[in-house]
């Protein structure tokens, strides 16, 4: 009984190795891991500087503005799409050659209430809509997206900022943003 189990496991191992040798490009795990590297090879040289959120006189609290800014920095670092993620005002930015600037402007803001969400379920959602632009140093827009971040059911109002930053990072990751060709 034990010998047959051993034979079976050896057979499985041999089959896996054979498949790996025969179809090196078709292993799902490998394609998942390799895809971002190939896609991001050009973008890996690009760095990004995140600017603070422009509240556009919509009454967005400073805590929300800075929470979006901090969450954006975290989420962009997680994407590994950029060589460096810099903060606004960072003096090192002038030395970095391929630098994109991420500008975020609040387009729509509905302040919600956690209590109203808990009591009514359908009302009290905190909604944020922003316009995110990736701009080169000379002002050319590389990416322009309108992104939402909401808290509808559970969680504090501040969670909307985290959701928003996640969605912005996702939009940037999906888009083929790279520096425009420089005229030689």
């Amino acid at each position: 009984m034990q010998a047959s189990k051993r034979n079976l496991s050896i057979c499985f191992a041999t089959a896996i190795v054979a498949i790996a040798i025969a179809f090196p490009d078709r292993l799902p795990a490998q394609t998942d891991a390799a895809a971002p590297t190939r896609a991001g090879s050009s973008a890996a040289q690009v760095s990004v500087q995140v600017e603070r959120v422009n509240p556009s006189d919509l009454g967005l609290a400073p805590s929300f503005q800075l929470a979006i800014y901090e969450s954006l920095l975290q989420e962009l670092n997680k994407t590994k799409r950029f060589h460096q993620v810099l903060r606004e005002g960072d003096r090192r930015a002038s030395e970095i050659p391929n630098l994109l600037i991420l500008k975020t402007t609040i387009v729509k803001y509905t302040p919600g209430s956690e209590t109203r969400r808990a009591v009514t379920t359908i009302s009290g959602a905190t909604k944020l809509t922003v316009r995110s632009q990736l701009v080169t140093a000379d002002g050319k827009v590389v990416l322009d997206r309108t992104v939402n971040g909401n808290v509808r059911f559970f969680g504090s109002n501040l969670r909307a900022t985290h959701n928003l930053a996640k969605n912005i990072a996702k939009a940037i990751k999906k888009s083929p943003c790279s520096l425009p060709e420089q005229p030689s």
Partner: protein
């Protein structure tokens, strides 16, 4: 004639000309002194100031939503968790401090589950009363490279203003301190055209 008129009506003499100017000047000085007294809360800089806070986000090498103590020691703001090394920010690098107000449901996840399990919508009724107001303290500062950082702390209601007053009282006049109204903003959807 004029002199006679002045002496004949002493009431007019007190409230016209030089007398009036003197009275206004005195009133102005009193008001300025009173305002200055109310703006600079008397704080003893030698006494260490600390307040329990929850770090919501922003501090490097510190977990979000963790409890700790925010203190002002010498020329630095220090956030310290129990049994862990603290995070320090030089007050000189602080650019802005904002105090705001929020409201949240109390009890965390166990309370949420209990409310969801309560029959006949009893959980909703509990939610009506199970909320608490708190202050948010937002600190904006620049690091050594000039990069801007933001930290958001959650404090008990009224404590935010205390920290704000403490910072002012310790003579941090170089920084701009802006106080945000603690009332929640009106629930109106704004859209840019």
């Amino acid at each position: 004639m004029n002199g006679f008129c002045v002496t004949a009506s002493p009431r007019r003499d007190h409230f016209s000309g030089r007398g009036l100017i003197r009275a206004w000047a005195l009133l102005f000085c009193c008001c300025t002194y009173a305002l200055a007294q109310s703006a600079t809360h008397p704080v003893n800089a030698n006494v260490p100031f600390s307040v329990p806070v929850t770090h919501l986000l922003g501090l490097e090498n510190t977990k979000n939503n963790c409890n700790g103590t925010l203190s002002i020691q010498d020329s630095a703001l220090l956030f310290q968790q129990r049994g862990k090394p603290g995070a320090k920010i030089e007050i000189a690098s602080v650019r802005d401090v904002f105090v705001g107000g929020e409201s949240k449901q109390v009890g965390g996840l166990p309370m949420k589950l209990g409310k969801a399990a309560a029959p006949y919508g009893g959980g909703r009724v509990v939610s009506l009363f199970a909320h608490k107001k708190y202050d948010t303290l937002t600190v904006e500062y620049a690091d050594g490279d000039g990069g801007i950082h933001g930290i958001v702390f959650q404090l008990k209601k009224g404590e935010g203003e205390r920290v704000w007053q403490e910072l002012v009282g310790r003579g941090v006049s170089a920084i701009v301190l802006e106080k945000q109204p603690t009332k929640a903003t009106v629930e109106v959807t704004h859209a840019s055209k």
